[in-house]
């Protein structure tokens, strides 16, 4: 079970992962776009985390919504705005929840996915962030149905996101700067999907540390 305090920690963990991978994301984005993804994700998740770190708030929905709003003003780039839209959608969906069980966690990531999709209007297969997150959400759903322990489910989701990220190589970009490159875009890995990969990696680390500390 995750409570508001855990969500704050998760957000902080995400911020750390993004900051640690600043240069990796810059490098990936430099092949496709404008090399800013490392900066925006580092700053954006840091802003999101800082915005809620000291909030005296047990409503997970409100917490995540505020984190999303902070992200939206801090980094209004494509991915910044999409991540903000995702978090704000999570916030709306989980409004009133103070604890998340396995189903709640599935809702969290499903809402994140839906929020990004309704803002950006991309489909799975369009070589975006969605291709990284999609498999992770599906994996969480399967593992939840199979009653697997959270730690294992998080591991699987992380692997699925990583695989989703790798699978973007070969896809034809339909959105973002990469789309301007037409067929050439197929050879490249999608940087936004790398963010999904890092998000799920961060989640798995957070869950495993939490498990270890109990």
């Amino acid at each position: 079970m995750l409570n508001a305090c855990d969500i704050k920690k998760l957000m902080q963990c995400w911020a750390e992962v993004m900051v640690q991978n600043r240069d990796y994301l810059i490098e990936l984005d430099s092949h496709v776009g404008d090399s800013d993804l490392g900066l925006t994700m580092g700053d954006g998740f840091t802003a999101a985390s800082n915005a809620i770190a000291d909030l005296d708030e047990s409503d997970i929905g409100k917490l995540v919504y505020n984190a999303g709003k902070a992200m939206s003003t801090a980094v209004p780039s494509t991915m910044g705005t999409l991540m903000a839209s995702g978090l704000m959608a999570v916030g709306k969906t989980l409004k009133g929840c103070t604890d998340l069980d396995m189903d709640g966690i599935v809702s969290f990531f499903q809402a994140y996915f839906d929020g990004v999709q309704s803002r950006g209007k991309a489909q799975v297969g369009d070589k975006t962030f969605l291709d990284g997150l999609f498999g992770a959400v599906e994996s969480l759903k399967t593992d939840a149905a199979a009653n697997l322990p959270l730690k294992e489910a998080a591991e699987h989701a992380s692997q699925a996101a990583h695989q989703g990220f790798l699978n973007t190589k070969g896809m034809l970009a339909q959105f973002g700067r990469a789309a301007g490159r037409g067929e050439q875009s197929r050879d490249l890995l999608d940087p936004g999907a790398a963010v999904a990969d890092l998000l799920m990696k961060g989640f798995a680390i957070f869950i495993s540390e939490k498990a270890d500390s109990i």
Partner: protein, 338 residues
């Protein structure tokens, strides 16, 4: 990275402070946020035109806010979209009852945020907002098919959209007419660029790509997006021929057409070299029987200290000619009626 700045973090804030200090008669900021720049002159009943986008392209975007052009501009960090809240603040400030037209470049971040802002303006403020997205870089994406999504980058050609839509609004045309003019310009303008050196986003601290001492990249975007072809630096005439052929075929521009031309320096390319390029453009167009209505040359849409240039052609008819001729008075673009 050799820049005259204080710190990368304060770069854009300090630039904006400089702008407001330099042009207090022309521009001010809205909503207490330096990133929300609006004209000091508000004309009752005129359609408001707002643009916005990342910093690092001066005089684009904010330099065209003024009489006969734009009414407001939201300003992001270097190569970063401003936020939807900032766009909304500009929108509220420039609306004078006739609605607001957003004109901006075809970039993911900008689209998402302008869409969000338009929704907020419509729902929260009851301001009628229409949007025109400029994307005319022939080096990016396929030619736009009617009804299909435009995947092309918006680059220097947006200047022509501002100029004509700005003149239309100044003539007090209604929102749908101003939008029609903006769309007409978008349909008739094409651009292509070439880069000789990269530029450095201050907070990144190193160039976003590398080009060898004898290389150029044809078709590179104004944020350093990869172009069509990287190769040995060629003579000016050969560079122009390659760019111009791509542009001309794309629309296509034909014998008997009349065009306005924009030769645009990306930041570090001297005017001297731009004129060497224009000489060849003039020759090629003459050979093809394409008539030059008017030429604009200089830095209109830059990529900070990038060396390189772009060429934009706008096919004009009587309506667009009249709108181009209309006077304009902004911090960076001033024109008497011609």
């Amino acid at each position: 990275m050799k820049k005259i700045i204080n710190t990368p973090e304060k770069f854009i804030t300090e630039m904006l402070e400089g702008i407001y200090a330099a042009h207090p008669d022309l521009v001010k900021f809205a909503g207490g946020d330096l990133h929300c720049l609006v004209s000091t002159k508000k004309i009752p009943g005129k359609v408001g035109i707002a643009t916005g986008g990342g910093s690092g392209h001066l005089p684009l975007f904010l330099g065209y806010v003024g009489e006969g052009m734009l009414d407001g501009c939201s300003i992001g960090d270097v190569f970063q979209s401003p936020s939807a809240e900032q766009m909304l603040a500009v929108t509220k400030e420039i609306d004078s009852g006739a609605g607001v037209l957003y004109i901006y470049g075809n970039y993911g971040g900008d689209i998402l945020n302008f869409d969000m802002a338009a929704e907020m303006a419509d729902f929260e403020e009851n301001i009628h907002v229409e949007s025109v997205v400029a994307g005319e870089d022939v080096a990016s994406g396929a030619p736009v098919k009617p009804g299909a999504k435009n995947t092309r980058r918006g680059v220097a050609g947006i200047f022509f959209v501002y100029k004509c839509a700005g003149a239309a609004a100044a003539k007090m045309l209604p929102l749908d007419e101003v939008k029609r003019v903006a769309e007409k310009v978008c349909e008739n303008v094409r651009t292509m660029g070439v880069a000789l050196t990269p530029c450095t986003v201050p907070r990144v601290g190193h160039p976003s790509f590398e080009l060898a001492e004898d290389e150029m990249e044809i078709g590179m975007g104004i944020h350093g997006e990869p172009g069509i072809r990287r190769g040995k630096l060629m003579p000016a005439d050969a560079i122009v021929d390659e760019m111009l052929n791509k542009i001309i075929e794309d629309l296509p521009y034909q014998n008997g057409d009349e065009v306005a031309i924009l030769v645009n320096g990306l930041g570090a390319t001297p005017l001297e070299e731009q004129y060497v390029m224009f000489r060849r453009i003039h020759q090629v167009l003459s050979e093809k029987g394409i008539n030059i209505f008017h030429t604009y040359i200089g830095e209109y849409a830059t990529s900070m200290e990038m060396a390189g240039a772009s060429i934009s052609l706008l096919k004009v008819d009587d309506e667009l000619k009249e709108l181009l001729r209309f006077p304009a008075d902004t911090p960076f673009f001033k024109q008497f009626k011609y």
